[in-house]
Symmetry: C3
């Protein structure tokens, strides 16, 4: 139950980021709702399709669907207020990242993926929705270009979760430190200005 | 048999729209055929992958494949004539929308999707191909931005079909009013200039 | 064993092309590795998802995953040297094209696809990764626009492989001429400047 609430909270934060981008790009109501849904749920859908869980859990369960719709409508009407909340959104987003990565890696592991694919699928759960959001909005996916430490902490937490599962550790003993690694690294990176490296320019 | 013909007609209209966009963007023959195929069949492929029907019906059956190839070649050679047919194309497109939504929702329902996911998958069948077309052509998907009443009538018809299936109504009794709702709403919206709302500008 | 090595070589060539594009577009390390992986493996993932092989073979097997990671890191550090190797890369790429098409068509056939879908899925294996690469890099997929003879030789080889499989010929007797057709046609097209047709301009 706690896990479901945390999962829905992560979806909500991602959905708001998608909906606000749609508003900024002057999308209509359909665009706002589609971007909210794909940003919140798209990463999980890609993961589920890749491991053969069809229909994806969050497509079959209306509780998952109602969250991005509500967030999309909220952003549609109250986007000026939401835009001003960027500080708390960054922190919530870090928590969403930690939860999505761990949940994604454990879901993949439970469906028979080895630790390496499971770690990758955890990261895919984290960044897939944002990549779809950016493609639909006509911009190059920010997760690939800005040097933000985003995908790397997500992969690290996912890897810890996948290895812990492989070693047979109890779920809570795996999930908490794995999510904490992602969240802590992400927040420290924002606070201290740590960056991922980029290729030397020539 | 009638259903197959209607389905192929819908694919043909969508394929022509993809092929003509490819011609306008100066794609080569490969681009024209790929855009024709993905616009006509892409929405159904996404739906089938999401509900676990693999390979997608319209990939396994050559009768579905030959339609976009023929439409692509037609557009390749006769695009000036086809471009002038935009009025009938808009009407055919509305019929394609109604048929795709209902067929998509019923297919999803038959494979065990509940009414809410089935309605969404009906809409995905309608708009998925056009979204892939626009992404491949390097433009923001028009269905998300223009305020046209397109996805919303599609979702409405899909929802009626999905709920009718859930209630155990016979297929024809469900499909005809559901498709009529989509087609009628779409044509009225074009005729009367109805628009979907967009967020207030700030 | 030989087949695995050839397959990994094809993935490597594709991965290098993705990583170099990412470097040119000023992506960070995450972008370089993601583009390397998706260009090398994305076509096979699309094929596997469409025929229901989940998780995709090259996601489940770490030997496939390590190749694009190594290529991505190589491009990250040594991109000036790799950029100068464009002549051998074009030849290797033609070999990758031949191998991917045949391997893709035979994989699809073995999972029950008929000859027409199998030929198409062979071509999808060849061009899918490059299309994802270009979309993620924010450009229109080059395979659709330039008039290069690329997808057509790939489809031809894939079709020969699919038909050969259908007729019950032994794998080697099918794979060698099929790959040779693709590779030969592709190299001849580069050498002689053959082009695919484009629509007349109006």
């Amino acid at each position: 139950m706690l896990l479901l609430i945390l999962d829905l909270l992560g979806i909500a934060v991602f959905a708001v980021s998608g909906a606000l981008l749609a508003v900024r790009q002057r999308f209509d109501i359909v665009g706002v709702l589609v971007l909210a849904a794909m940003t919140g749920l798209g990463g999980g859908w890609i993961r589920d399709v890749l491991i053969g869980v069809t229909p994806p859990t969050s497509l079959a369960d209306w509780r998952y669907l109602i969250v991005p719709v509500a967030c999309g409508l909220l952003a549609f009407w109250f986007h000026p207020a939401l835009e001003r909340m960027d500080r708390p959104v960054i922190v919530f987003d870090a928590f969403g990242l930690g939860l999505f990565g761990v949940a994604g890696a454990l879901t993949a592991s439970e469906h028979g993926a080895g630790p390496v694919p499971a770690a990758i699928l955890g990261m895919v759960t984290c960044i897939g929705g944002g990549i779809i959001r950016d493609l639909l909005a006509g911009r190059v996916p920010v997760v690939l270009t800005t040097g933000e430490l985003y995908a790397i902490p997500a992969l690290a937490g996912s890897a810890v979760a996948a290895v812990g599962f492989e070693l047979g550790a109890p779920t809570v003993a795996v999930a908490v430190p794995a999510a904490a690694l992602t969240i802590g690294w992400r927040l420290l990176a924002i606070w201290r200005g740590w960056r991922a490296p980029s290729p030397r320019r020539t």
